[in-house]
């Protein structure tokens, strides 16, 4: 209680920062669900691959110094692009291997969940065994810096120290905070514009709302599904870079809990709804911090899930309702 009242702004702002990363990952869940009505359980691994890609970029450029954001901004941008592409690529692979055969077979929805769980194991374990896989190709020494510590924490070689920019109430907002929130909001805004304004975006919405009519309009649904996975992957990759900027360390199972939270955020906001994912993510981030302050950090996940249940009981469609897939009652 003491902590809560005295450090209200710090708890809230750091919560918003983490929440905006949740939101970016949540977009991937929400878009795939909107189009396919599938819970893409392996999306957490898409995110996890992005975190590694981010660290790899810094390893590649041998950035081992301790520095400020200003000095690293160029590498950060490269890392962002690489992580987005890596995550996007993993998402595409996932669609191709784990989902498309099932979609083609018009398989029951639930089986896709199993395929996704299987894919999630495979992706996470493959990352955890990357040293062995590299050894197959005799590359474990050449790639030692990339594949080392396979099952363990893999840490960014560089520590980026935040710099205080300005003060709100009790908290000095840092450049990392600002960059995270601005970048996350920017990504989401770009995605929103893409989905609502462009031809491909309309294709995505059309398939979400009525797949048969969309086919009659000449929409190639396989393409649209691929695109949806890819966009979700891009967002997860961006989230991964922001996550690494803040946390700095990842692991082959780092996606799991984070993914569950992001999915919770997506559902909270109204699955299929892009703005809902943002709102859900921010609320979740803040609620976790407030809950930690009131009850202790060990109750943080309990707070998150109880909040989810309460929200769904009051608003069964999530806070903002479903949007991409409005056609479904």
């Amino acid at each position: 209680m003491h902590t809560f009242t005295h450090q209200f702004f710090e708890l809230t702002i750091t919560g918003l920062v983490l929440g905006s990363i949740y939101a970016l990952v949540a977009l991937g869940y929400t878009m795939v669900y909107g189009v396919l009505q599938l819970i893409n359980f392996a999306h957490s691994e898409v995110f996890m691959y992005g975190t590694f890609a981010t660290a790899w970029v810094f390893v590649f450029f041998d950035q081992t110094g301790v520095n400020s954001i200003g000095g690293e901004i160029g590498f950060l941008l490269i890392a962002l692009v690489v992580a987005m592409l890596v995550s996007g690529g993993v998402a595409l692979l996932l669609e191709r291997v784990a989902y498309r055969p099932l979609i083609k077979k018009n398989a029951p929805k639930l089986i896709a969940l199993i395929s996704a769980i299987g894919a999630s194991f495979v992706l996470s374990e493959a990352m955890g065994l990357r040293d062995r896989i590299a050894a197959w190709f005799g590359l474990e020494d050449n790639l030692g810096n990339y594949v080392g510590n396979a099952r363990n924490n893999y840490t960014m070689p560089v520590q980026i120290n935040p710099k205080g920019l300005f003060t709100i109430g009790d908290y000095t907002v840092t450049d990392i905070d600002v960059i995270t929130i601005v970048a996350a909001l920017g990504m989401m805004f770009a995605l929103q514009v893409f989905v609502s304004r462009t031809r491909f975006g309309r294709g995505i919405r059309a398939v979400a709302q009525d797949p048969e009519s969309a086919a009659l309009m000449g929409v190639n649904s396989t393409r649209v599904i691929q695109l949806t996975f890819f966009l979700g992957g891009l967002m997860a990759g961006a989230a991964a870079t922001l996550y690494m900027l803040r946390i700095g360390s990842t692991r082959n199972d780092a996606g799991f809990i984070f993914g569950v939270k992001a999915f919770t955020a997506a559902v909270m906001g109204g699955i299929g709804n892009l703005r809902g994912a943002l709102l859900g993510g921010l609320i979740l981030g803040v609620a976790e911090n407030w809950g930690s302050a009131f009850l202790g950090s060990q109750w943080k996940d309990v707070v998150a899930f109880v909040l989810l249940v309460v929200i769904l009981l009051i608003r069964p469609q999530g806070l903002l309702g479903e949007s991409l897939g409005k056609a479904r009652a």
Binding site: R202, G203, A206, Q209, D210, A215, G218, V219, A327
Partner: protein, 240 residues
């Protein structure tokens, strides 16, 4: 050469034969119609022509090309467009967005030709112009039907398939819809019309086919069939 040739088409739903060995042509610039009772296989035929249902046997030739195995989006690109049964509009999109979806396969959306097509649709359906920013899901059934037809026309099709455009509409609206179909033909677009409202359909059809349990039982011009006694008894309530 006819614009569309359907040759010996068979379509199954599981073990049920929904369409059994039907053959018919649609001549360019004409209105053709398929009439028949519920479950006769009319909608299945249209969906199969559009590529939504797999063909078990037979062949579909459109514009001189065998399209039997083409995915639906390729057919739309070739100029085959459909206004589906139950309208199938995108309820979460505005009227304008729905019309833009109709033009999804077109690459000339920035040109005057596209603008002209849009104007043409608004001319046919002035109601859509009034509601251009409204979310389609909130419109009335008649308005949604107009939107579905306008949307189909936005693809600039050679052939437009209309599935039950009059279904569930008030009589006054039905008349309006049919006069628009005449207008579509007059502007040079070929129409394949599926209707339960046989009287109206036959009145304007250049050729007509009667489907019963998946097979064509009679064919002829609209006028011929409208006069035919058995057709009258079965589909026209005998009082036309």
């Amino acid at each position: 050469m006819p614009l569309l040739e359907v040759q010996g088409l068979c379509v199954n739903y599981g073990h049920i034969e929904a369409v059994r060995d039907i053959t018919f042509d649609v001549e360019e610039g004409s209105i053709s119609t398929l009439i028949g009772a519920n479950g006769a296989g009319k909608t299945t035929t249209l969906k199969t022509i559009s590529g939504l249902r797999p063909v078990r046997a037979g062949k579909i030739v459109f514009d001189g090309r065998d399209i039997t195995g083409l995915p639906p989006y390729e057919r739309v690109k070739m100029g085959l467009s459909q206004s589906p049964e139950g309208r199938g509009i995108f309820p979460g999109m505005t009227v304008r967005e729905n019309l833009e979806m109709g033009a999804y396969v077109r690459t000339d959306t920035k040109t005057a030709a596209y603008k002209a097509d849009l104007d043409r649709v608004f001319e046919l359906f002035p109601r859509l112009l009034e509601r251009v920013s409204q979310v389609a899901g909130t419109m009335s059934g008649g308005e949604q039907q107009m939107l579905a037809m306008g949307r189909a026309l936005m693809a600039r099709p050679k052939l437009v398939l209309l599935d039950e455009p009059s279904m569930g509409l008030a009589p006054k609206l039905i008349a309006q819809i049919f006069s628009i179909i005449d207008e579509i033909k007059a502007q040079g677009t070929t129409v394949l019309l599926v209707e339960q409202n046989a009287a109206q359909a036959l009145k304007r059809a250049d050729s007509a086919h009667i489907l019963e349990t998946g097979s064509i039982v009679r064919s002829g011009t609209g006028a011929e069939l409208a006069k035919d006694g058995s057709v009258k008894a079965a589909y026209l309530g005998g009082d036309l």
